[in-house]
Structures are given as C-alpha cells and as structure tokens.
Symmetry: none
Amino acid sequence: MKTKQQVVMEFRRQEILDAARTVFARKGFADGIVDDIAAEAGVAKGTIYLYFPSKKEIYKSLLQHDMEALKAGTLQRIDAASGLKDKIRAFALARLENAEANREFFRIMDTQPANLSFTRSEYRDWLKEPVRHLAAAIESAARGGEVRAVEAEKVAWAVADLARGAILRRLVGPAESRLTEEAEFVAELIWSAIRIETAAVKPGQETRLA
Amino acid sequence: MKTKQQVVMEFRRQEILDAARTVFARKGFADGIVDDIAAEAGVAKGTIYLYFPSKKEIYKSLLQHDMEALKAGTLQRIDAASGLKDKIRAFALARLENAEANREFFRIMDTQPANLSFTRSEYRDWLKEPVRHLAAAIESAARGGEVRAVEAEKVAWAVADLARGAILRRLVGPAESRLTEEAEFVAELIWSAIRIETAAVKPGQETRLA
Amino acid sequence: MKTKQQVVMEFRRQEILDAARTVFARKGFADGIVDDIAAEAGVAKGTIYLYFPSKKEIYKSLLQHDMEALKAGTLQRIDAASGLKDKIRAFALARLENAEANREFFRIMDTQPANLSFTRSEYRDWLKEPVRHLAAAIESAARGGEVRAVEAEKVAWAVADLARGAILRRLVGPAESRLTEEAEFVAELIWSAIRIETAAVKPGQETRLA
Amino acid sequence: MKTKQQVVMEFRRQEILDAARTVFARKGFADGIVDDIAAEAGVAKGTIYLYFPSKKEIYKSLLQHDMEALKAGTLQRIDAASGLKDKIRAFALARLENAEANREFFRIMDTQPANLSFTRSEYRDWLKEPVRHLAAAIESAARGGEVRAVEAEKVAWAVADLARGAILRRLVGPAESRLTEEAEFVAELIWSAIRIETAAVKPGQETRLA
DNA sequence: TATGAATGAGTCTTCATTCAT
DNA sequence: CATGAATGAAGACTCATTCAT
C-alpha cells in the first residue's frame, strides 16, 4: 500500500507534468522554460527539481506517460468493437477523441524535436502496437472472406494516417464536423476500399463516403 | 535585369539556405546554432547577418522557399497526369519523391516548432493548393460518373495523409519498397474506395491492394 | 550542573561536528553540502539548523574545537618531556600523531579557504601558543649553555614547519617510515643545528640524521 | 612564426589568467565567480568562454602556468649558486622572492581545494624536481666530505618546508625581516645541522643562527 | 563586403535556509 | 524537538546579434 508520502509525491509529480504539458504544447521544448512550468504549476523553480532531475527528463516522462495512456485506451477500444469496420472506426475515434480531449499532448507529439534521444521513432513505437492489433483484425477478416486479401499492416497504418490527418486539420482550423463523423469517414473510406462487394453497386446505392 | 551584385547576393543567400537546411534538419531549430550554419556554408558568422536579419528569418525563408518549390512541382505533376487515378498516383509520388530527394526538408516540415509565428498552419496552406487541385479533379470525375459522389476535398486530403504517413515510415525505418509501389498503394486504396464498381468483384479478381 | 537537555544538546552538536569533519575533509567547504552532513550525521537537514545557525558556523566551530584539542594535547606533551631535544621531539610527534589519527582534520586545516573570515591567520594563532612554549624551552636551554644563543622563536617555528611538511608528505604519498622516525628526524636535525659541540665530530661519529 | 591572431589570442588569455589569479587569491576557487574574473579582466563574461572552456580549466591553466614558472626559476637559481650552502640559500630565496612578488599565486597554491582533479599532489610534483635537484647537490657534497652522510632528500624537503613556513608567516603578519635574512636563516640552520665540524665550537664562536 | 571577436541577456541547475506539520 | 518539502537567490555557461577592422 502506498504511504501518504508517496501519494503526495505522486500528486506533485502529476501537477508538474500537467503544467509541463501545457507549457511545452504552447511553446515547444526549447522555448518552454522551466520558470514557465514552475509558474504554471504554482510552485517555485527549485521545487521542480525535487521531482525531476532535469527539464529533459520532465519532457520524457510526459511523453512516456501520455503515450502509454493513449496506447492502452486505443487498444481497449479496438477490442471492445466487434466487427472489423467497427474496429476501424473505434481506432480512429479513439485517436480523435484523445487528441481532442488533450490537444496539448497531441501538439507535443506532433512537434517533438527529433533529437531528445527519446525520439519520434519511439513515439511511433507506441502507435505500433495498436496498429498491429488492427492489422491482426484485418487479416482475420480477410481469412474469413469478409474483406479482400490486402496487405493488412499497410492498411492499418493507413487508418492511423487518416486519423492523424483529421486531427491535424481540426487542430489548425476550427472543427467543421463531429468527431464521430470524422471517424466514420475514415472507417467508410477504408471499408469501401477493402470490402468484398457482394453485388455491383448500382447508381444511387452510394455509401456514406459522400 | 539583375546586376551582378544581385546575382552574387542571390547566390550567397542560396548557399546559406542550403547550409541552414542541413543544419536544421539534423538538429532542429533550437539546437541548430548559427555557428553551425556558418561553418556548413563556409562563411563567417557575421556574414550570415549580411544576408538575413535573424536566425528565425533564415528558417522562415527556408520553409517558404522549399514549400513553394514543392507546391509548384506537385501541381505540375498532377496536371501532367491524365486520368483521376493517375492524378492521385502522381500526387502521392510527387510528395514521396520530393521527401526522398530532400529528406532534410521533410524532416524540418515535420518537426517544425509551432511557435515561430510562421506556423504549421501556413505550411498546410502550401499543401492546400495541390490538395484543392486534386479535389477538383475528383469532383470532375464524380460528375463524369467515373467515381462515386464523394466529399472530394476530404478524399483529396486523405491522399495527402496517406502520402505523408508513407514518407514518415520510410524516414524512420529503412525503406522496404520502391517509391512507385508506395504511390501505387495509395492510389489503389483510394481508387478502390471511390470508384464505381461496374460488376461484382468475384473471388480471385482482387486488385493490387494485396 | 548540566541539565539532561544540555547534555543531549551537546551530544547532538558533537555528532554533527563529526559528520561535518568527515564531509568537509572529503569534499572541502564549498562542495561539502549540508545534505551530506545531515546524511552522515543521520539527521534531517532541518535538524542541523537547530544546532548551528549556518553552514559557515559549523565550519568555524569545527576548526575551533579541533584546534583547541590539538593545542592542549601538544602543550601537554611538550611539558611532559624533560630535556630540550625531547621536547622538540615531543612537539613534532604530537603534531604527527594528531594528524595521523585525524587525517580529516588536518586536511581541512590545510585546504581551508582563506575567505571565511575565520582565516588561516587564526589557525596559526592556535599553533602560536605551543610554538611559544617550545621557544621558551629553547631560550631556557640557551641560557643554561645547553644550546647556542639562537633566535628561539624562529627555531621553534622551524620545528613546526618541518612537522607540517612531514605530515603533508605522509598524506599525499603512502607513509615510508614510522611516525617516531619522522619526529626523530626533525628533532635530530634541529638539535644538530643548535647544540653546542663539546668536541669536533670526527668522521664515523655521525648522528642519526643519516 | 606566430600570426598576429595568435599573439592577440595569447595576450587575452594572459589577461584573463591574471584577472583570475587576483580573484581566486582573494576569494578562493568556489567564491571567485566568473563575473568577478570578467570584471577584473575588463571583458564581458562571454568573452571568458572564448578563451577557456570552463572555470575549472581557467584554474588549472593558472596553476600549471605559474607552477611551471616557479619551477624553472627555482632550478635556475640553484644551478647558478656554487657551494652547497649557497645552493640551499638560493633555493629558499627563490621561493621567498617568488611568493613575495606573487603573493596571489602563493595564496592559491596554499588554499587549493583538494578535489579539482588537479590536486595538491600535482602541485607537490612541481616542487619535487627542484627538491630533487637540491638533494643531488647535498649528496654530492656528502660524497666530497663537505657535509655528513645525511638522508639527502629528507634534508632537501626540510629546506622546502622551512621556506614555505617563512613565506606563510610573512603572508599573514607583516614582514619583520628582509627576504635575504629569511633565506640566510634557513641556509644557516640546515648548514649547521649537516656540516662537518672541523673544530669544536668554543663559546663566543657562535654562528649566525643567533 | 567579409570577418570573427566581443557582448550580455537568458537558461538550467544547485543548494543554503526556512517553515508548516 | 525533528522533519524534509519548499523556496529563490546565485552562478556557470550558451548563443543570437553587433561592430570594429
């Protein structure tokens, strides 16, 4: 069981990480100075160094923590969905919602300097697992004759790419549609591309891509 | 007509921009110091400031310049292609080849700090025009009954997203396939999603997605 | 009579001083940080400040305390010796043994920053008294015709200087001889220099300087 | 041949070293802050770092430089003297004069923290050579029957110790005697201790020790 | 025009000291 | 009394920018 000490310790760390996320998201790593983080967290500068050995380490912890959460959430939502199309939609929606709820985190992910030893490639590693998960589902569906025999992993990455693009556009310009619509668009696009047509699509029988 | 002065001036600016591209790509904006750029360009540090008012301005000029080139190239290649699928493939290939030929530039685009007043949103603006171009082609094809009545601009952005994802993966891990294959995959995926099926796809009649 | 309070107080102060001696000897004043002292003493950092008003004051107390002990010990051993040569030997041996038994203290004495208001000059003051004591013995011997009429105080300081040098060399390199031999060397050297020769020294009649 | 560049470079380094010597002598290493050195040298703080990579390196360079000079000077003066007693006197006088002319340097030598990787032991190394030089002269004299068969190196170190003590006392209290007298005292003391008496010293025939 | 030495504001980090518990 | 988390002043070092040559 945790001592009260540890609880307080953990709480402070979290406060600082939250402050850091805000600051780094706003100014990036280099321009997000420690004074800012301290001010944002409402503590003195020295206090920061009681909980983290360096600015870099704050940054790393932040990424690690947030990415872990994102990964777990995404995996869980993929599993919760039943059909393949639902899984695709779930994946996209998980990423969209996470980014929406945590714009700061996404902005960091997206502007992360490549030279902090903890690099984008590691970021991609966190993404890799959910993508593989999705790829497995696609393969399974292909074996079941539900979709065509596609390169499952490439298609799964495509889902991730589309989700990312959608998020980015929402981040820059104001949102023009609901998150569910965005996710639906992704799912529909991919689904249309890989499903096995049981019949010719006649004019007027369009899918929701339109 | 340009004086010799101006020619020399322009030449030096270009040398410095090239050096800056290399440095910024390697170390990012914050860690790419002016001394590095000067050394890379083979001039003294002070000389840099005869051609650019500040480090930030070098960065901005660099982005502006490279993005302009990318935009022009992409537009031209879209126009050169005839059918819609070809145009899609051309778009993807243009971006892939550009990124390949100019990894440094792409890396900068991709890690660009969000706080340089010259932001990603502006970057996206450069991309916007080729995407709109592609969207127009899609709409035209839709009107011609070649593809379904889709949200043309969203689909066009999807093409851009997929291309970007492909590039990113090539940048991180070593390339596993040829650029043309990557472009083909993108074109095929999108095409499969939006084309109007003239007949049911029978088993064994798969497309090249696989 | 001391209350139990005072006894405990005194005990804690001593513990802290002991810890401080170890730390300062190992790292010097500037690099011997208060956390180190607290850890070494097995108390919390705040506790230190219940017993001493500042780090500097710990340092001063430490020097004061140790030097007082050194002075008292040296004086006592000089007095205990009977003849002049014995007194010289006793002086040197007292300093050597003290330094050996308490290398930490000596190292502090010897590297003491000159700018702690409590300076080396004060340190020398503690040494002054034993030296004067020895000088008095020399003068007395001179009056008794035992040694030549030398500048007693200068000779006494010379004894101190030689002892110090011997200690320093033992501190740096590993000891090559016993403490008593070192002291004997000092005593013999000085004694040879000031004694009144009762007869010419013939070859082969060398003293133990060799 | 040196370029003008190198000359200017060397000159600036020297200016900074001079400033550093003053500051370090006054405040010690830890409290001698870089701003002080810069102010003393009449340059901006940043300039310091054009000539030295770190504060520690300034300190090391300073010691190295000054000790080298001291060693060379001492060796030369020993060699210049003819008889053994003269050599002893020369050694002591060289150290005394050097310390007098460069009180700052001596104070640094004497308060040097032991934990700068470049330690006192290395300082002793610089002293070692002149001492060995003197020891050789003593041994040679012993073989020539001029002095007794003493432990030459220990005696030579004794000379160094006495010189050091004399310097220290002059540094603390104001000088009471001329440098030559101090050196003469050292030489006379050692000489009395090791010379071979050709005849009994009769009362009234005292040497200059008195 | 080109140079590169000089500048000093700005940043991270440390650590003596305080104080609420 | 004891604790140790919190503080913030201070210091080493960096680097964009300037300017005398």
